[in-house]
Symmetry: C2
Subunit: 354 residues, 2 copies
């Protein structure tokens, strides 16, 4: 087996979910992730814990949607819920065979199914859980890479010294929390917001692998200024690029995009919350050097910031509500991040690197 | 999708397990069976039932054994048990990627794990359950066939009119139950036993797919005579061939094999029960015309009989106990099956075909 797969499994079991003796561990995986599942079984067994794996693919979901009537779509999977109730740890592997298997399902059905799966999601989030990616051809294709390149990319992002990464992120978090606001400055960008009463979270690989971001929810009506997001991202099957947003009293008052502006417009107009920011964050993972249209990686790219229109995280004391949470990313090599009177980041370096 | 896969799924859902509205269905599958899982999801959803799939491979089991200490091997998977408790139907797909992944695991560990999995097995058997095969390269290889040939073989065996097959098997069962003994006659063969107080079961595709056998447990100490099993079979990784057994008062008093006689000897000497017959049966599936070293198929070959050394089925009122249950098969084209004074089968035909 590729030793990188074994290292990946070790990080998931030891760092992310801290599997210990007697734990009941649930894995969610596609057939394409079998090798990582095998590596996880060995590591989990070494800890004295017991694994079980649920196979889940979008092709299976598609077949379910094709066969189910409205009643069936709304029926909760009580046997799956029972499994999750007894689980201590959940490790979810994203490793699709085909990222488009659900493309032609009526979105209303998908939303109805999400409602029926709410208890499953709540149970997930009540455990020690982590989401990761196992490199597969469908994701290499989405990233515009060969499999060999994509494997390099994934393992450069994940096989880090997470204890050291965590220390860095927590240092940034501590400095940000000494101040009451945050400001991003750069080309066509000067955006600021109050963070008073809000919590900054260091995302250090416990729930996302890779991780590498420090994030908060800004005070909703204090976001002011403009920003240019120069990294493309996927939404509703479209690549949106070159987004410019202008905020007044927390609301988007002007916007444009170099590509797929109509999709951006749809997002902003979905509901009241989707025209406000639910998140402001700093990407810190320098193992990730390019975007791949996969938000799990892109929002963590080192030397970037990102903002999300829509739903805020309650853990940050955020209050913005929305049906969506759409992240948009900006490179910061030419930019500055300022909190209160402190320059957190400037000329490619954080305060602790100067 | 190959329409035969859809037909296979339909038989499993409608005939074997009779999935109905509101059922919670558990599927056990390998990655290699993904296509049949997809077909099953559509059929299950059409019935108004909810599927979940547990991924299970021998490579995963091997990794678990490699990592686990004695305590861990003995620990029951309570999260898996919880899932099974809530399930109404279990469909297990045999479709290995590699049939030899457990070849080098200490057999003691495998037995210990079986003990820890006892409640899982009991729960399985307490549901509407069915075991089937999805054609995969590893099984084609074991069967000495190309994938195309093997697919033909599997679907010829499974895609039958099971209602018609069931009628035939039940007709045979009814005739056998009008008598108090059973006798197999053929080349180098004249074996008889009492079946008084025992139950004949028509295995018509509810628990095995394919199926096609009518079986009972003979009265243990009444088996007398000799028999030549002319179809090879796999045991402990060895192909055993040309087995000749002689019985007196129910016990093997003489035995030989043209190939792997030492393995046959080991089996017979395992315990008290392994030198007695736990099963006598008639294969009725004429869709199966050749052996493939896979007992799920081989014991059902049309125009054969088989006997098993070892454990008897309680459902037949059998009492023989043993750690093993080893089936051995004999072609009957030149043979006769007689019950009481009735010729059940002779010259290639059952009584109802004459």
């Amino acid at each position: 087996m590729d030793p990188r797969i074994e290292e990946h499994a070790k990080i998931l079991v030891e760092w992310s979910t801290e599997v210990k003796k007697g734990d009941m561990v649930g894995i969610r995986a596609t057939p394409e992730a079998h090798e990582l599942v095998v590596a996880l079984y060995k590591k989990i067994a070494e800890k004295g814990a017991i694994p079980i794996t649920v196979m889940s693919t979008e092709e299976m979901d598609r077949a379910f949607f094709d066969g189910a009537d409205d009643d069936t779509i709304k029926r909760a999977p009580t046997h799956f819920e029972a499994l999750l109730e007894k689980a201590d740890v959940i490790i979810a592997l994203r490793s699709p065979g085909n990222t488009k298997a659900l493309a032609n399902v009526d979105p209303k059905k998908v939303i109805q199914r999400d409602v029926a799966m709410k208890r499953v999601m709540d149970l997930y989030l009540s455990k020690r859980w982590c989401l990761t990616v196992h490199p597969v051809p469908a994701l290499a294709q989405q990233a515009n890479m060969s499999m060999d390149e994509y494997e390099e990319f994934v393992y450069n992002a994940t096989l880090l010294d997470w204890e050291a990464e965590s220390k860095i992120m927590n240092k940034i978090k501590e400095h940000l929390e000494q101040h009451k606001d945050i400001r991003y400055i750069g080309p066509e960008t000067d955006l600021h917001a109050s963070t008073e009463g809000r919590i900054w979270i260091a995302s250090d690989g416990k729930h996302n692998m890779p991780s590498g971001e420090v994030f908060t929810a800004p005070v909703e009506d204090t976001v002011e200024g403009k920003i240019l997001f120069d990294i493309p991202f996927l939404q509703q099957g479209k690549v949106i690029e070159g987004v410019r947003l202008t905020f007044e009293k927390g609301e988007v008052v002007d916007f444009s995009a170099e590509k797929a502006e109509a999709t951006l417009k749809e997002i902003i107009e979905i509901d009241e919350g989707s025209r406000r920011l639910g998140e402001m964050a700093i990407g810190t993972n320098r193992g990730i050097k390019q975007h791949t249209l996969n938000m799990l990686f892109d929002e963590k790219i080192g030397d970037t910031v990102h903002c999300a229109l829509g739903r805020a995280y309650k853990e940050c004391n955020g209050t913005n509500e929305s049906a969506v949470h759409v992240d948009m990313i900006k490179t910061m090599h030419d930019g500055e991040i300022i909190a209160g009177d402190e320059v957190i980041y400037s000329k490619g370096k954080f305060f602790y690197e100067r």
